[in-house]
Amino acid sequence: MNEVLTLLRPRLIAFLGHKRAAKERGRMMKAFLFGTVGGGFWVGIFLVFFRVLSYFQNVEGFGDILAEKLLSMVLVTFFSLLVFSGILTCLSKLYLSRDLALVHSFPVSHAKVFLARWVESTIDSSWMVLVYALPVFFSYGVVYQQGPFFYANVAMVLVPFCVVASGISVLLVMTAVVLLPASRIRSIFVSLGLLCFVALYVALRLLRPERLVDPDAFSSVVVYLQSLSTPSSPWLPSTWAFDSMRAALKGHHHSALFHNALAASGGASMVFIVTWLAGLVYFPGLSKAQTARVRMTSRGAADKRSGAKRPFGSFSGPVRAFLVKEIKTFFRDQTQWPQILLIAALIAIYLYNFKVLPLEKAPIKTVYLQNLFSFLNMGLAAFVLTAVAARFVFPAVSMEKEAVWIVLAAPVSVGTVLWIKFAIYLIPLLVLSEILVVATNFLLSVTPFMMWLSVTTVFCMVPGVIAMGIGLGAAYPDFQSENPAQSVTSFGGMLFMILCAGFIGGVIIIEAGPVYAVFMAGIRGQDLSAWEWMWLVGSFSLALVLCALAVILPMRFGTRHMLQR
């Protein structure tokens, strides 16, 4: 056991060292920003659940059933997140990390190396999910006026909950590594992406959340209640935690402890199964993953192929060089593919939500609601774009990794390189945003004015979001990271998200007043007054200036920071 702890020590020392460094002034600022944003989310989650649970408590008859159903869904969601996060972390920690060669050269058994890595992986993949799960359980405790037993029970049951999730992840990863050819280890990411996409789609269809708020869809109240109180499968590990928490909420302490013990025995069994299987397949799998890659072509192919027609031939040399490089490296990096699939799933769900909006049942006039949603949808689409940009655009500069010397030594200005990256991401993301807006507008059957407004506003906002991604990504790059996509969780990434939210919110607020005036004038069949015209032109000009500044300032900021390196 000592050897396992010794193997974990570098990570612990680095963590403590990071905490010491956090006392420096600049880092204090970052810690403050992270703390504020993180704390804000934490409080937000608590308040939302507190509000919802309080509302449920006022629903006589089946308020508790609704609260239990919600708890069950939350636990299933957290469990899925833990498994998915665990798969990515385990794959990286156990098979792809740069320090694996060093660690396995130590005079320590492979079993102990595996155990140390698995512990590290379990902590890494679980801590954030746990941190943001706590306000949910806390709100249950507060609303149901629970004492220390409930909180202690939650703390106890969450440990096996995380261990079982991480165990499932590592079992999946070890099996995949044994089954797949060594040269395609990274393709696991693709399989996982597809799996995640299918899981998301199935979960959405099976939940049919729209039916739960539409009692008309059920033949009777009894059927409606039955659909809500359907018990979860006892084979699902989240059910063990759910049963324990539900019993604790009802004050059945013995039952809560029984289910807690059941969860703990499940966790212990998982540790046994995982370590047993790891003894059989981990090291052979790792050795297989280390073997040489299969060659793609026959020998001497580079000699034979003459200069065939080259893509982007009409562009200047440096522009063509970066265009070809960016596109090829992006599509050959299999870790990017599942992310694209996830975005496709996100868009499908986004559009689906608009499709099932029960506008006709609302007490407010439908045409008003349709156009209100359309207006707000501009902001929502821009937020979706921000999320996509955070994953792809912000890390675009960090993706140069340690090969960034090539860019810096090249006879091309840093500014030019950043603008090329801007152009590369602008076109696909502009198309994506416009598709989102136009498709939702069609689903909402909005007025031509609202369609025109949405398309134009999004057209002007997208370059700003992209420029902020590239500019701030250049100002706060991480060229040493094994996975630059994670740089969005850094200080720069956080700053990008905050500034984008401010920018999008600013544009929407500036446009809201005059758009409302135009829309109401249309409904009433009146013309706009001179004052309203001035307001309209002034607001739209201001929004345009804001969009232009959002492009220019971050790009300059990023270029300046890159040059000052």
């Binding site: 000699d303 040399g317 060089a321 050959r332 000052q564």
Partner: protein, 244 residues
């Protein structure tokens, strides 16, 4: 061809390079040696335009690196000490990428790329992804890319790291040949035998300052060593530097 004046680089309170003055003539091979952490790589990175100096200037054939970085960089073939490349490109694609960056004529590019891949024994690997290359192969590919645009100046950091004996001999012969044809080469190395073997002049950097410069004979005289052994000269000079 290379003119460095008062070159200084500070990282916060640490002075990595302190007021460095040196020149490298056309066709000269200049060796830059020094202990670990002496400031060699920092100097080379400033000369390649990768980091900016805190003070001082670098001129490549009279072009100021600070004022006209693009023009100056166009004349340089830069070879770093660690071969970090774009793993998802093939060797041939990387050469095309470099050729485009340095505006090498499209018609000449393919032929020249194939020629260089052959020279560096990479022609069988030209269409393989760089991620499948060994360390030495990546180092050879970087050298091929640095020579693609026929630079007038080559700045190279630890050229022999990762190369096999045949590769080392080939690179030494290549550098001599390039220098004979007028290319100036500034190379930093820990391999003193290489420096002694191919460099016309050698500079010794220690704790960020240039402590000696000249031919091997000049350095022997400066270090009061008669063994005609650069290692003995190096040890004596850096010991004296430590004592100061």
């Amino acid at each position: 061809m290379i003119e460095v004046k008062g070159l200084t680089k500070r990282f916060g309170p640490i002075c990595a390079v302190n007021h460095l003055d040196l020149t490298v003539a056309r066709g000269e091979i200049f060796g830059f040696i020094g202990p670990n952490g002496a400031g060699k790589t920092t100097t080379i990175r400033m000369m390649g335009g990768i980091i900016s100096p805190t003070a001082g200037s670098i001129r490549i054939d009279g072009i100021d690196m600070q004022r006209e970085p693009q023009r100056a960089k166009r004349m340089i073939g830069f070879i770093p000490d660690r071969p970090f490349l774009y793993d998802k490109l093939t060797g041939m694609e990387f050469l095309r990428f470099t050729g485009d960056l340095y505006s090498v004529n499209g018609k000449d590019l393919h032929g020249r790329a194939v020629q260089l891949l052959r020279l560096f024994s990479l022609h069988e690997w030209g269409d393989e992804l760089i991620e499948s290359y060994s360390h030495g192969m990546k180092q050879r590919l970087i050298m091929a890319a640095a020579l693609l645009h026929q630079p007038e100046v080559i700045i190279v950091d630890e050229p022999m790291v990762g190369l096999d004996p045949r590769g080392i001999k080939m690179v030494k012969d290549l550098f001599r040949d390039l220098a004979d044809r007028g290319t100036s080469i500034f190379l930093s190395t820990h391999t003193l035998a290489v420096a002694q073997d191919i460099c016309h002049r050698i500079g010794v950097i220690h704790k960020g300052s240039l402590i000696a410069m000249g031919t091997t004979k000049d350095l022997e005289r400066a270090a009061h060593v008669e063994a005609q052994d650069l290692e003995a000269v190096f040890l004596r000079l850096t010991e004296e530097g430590d004592a100061r």
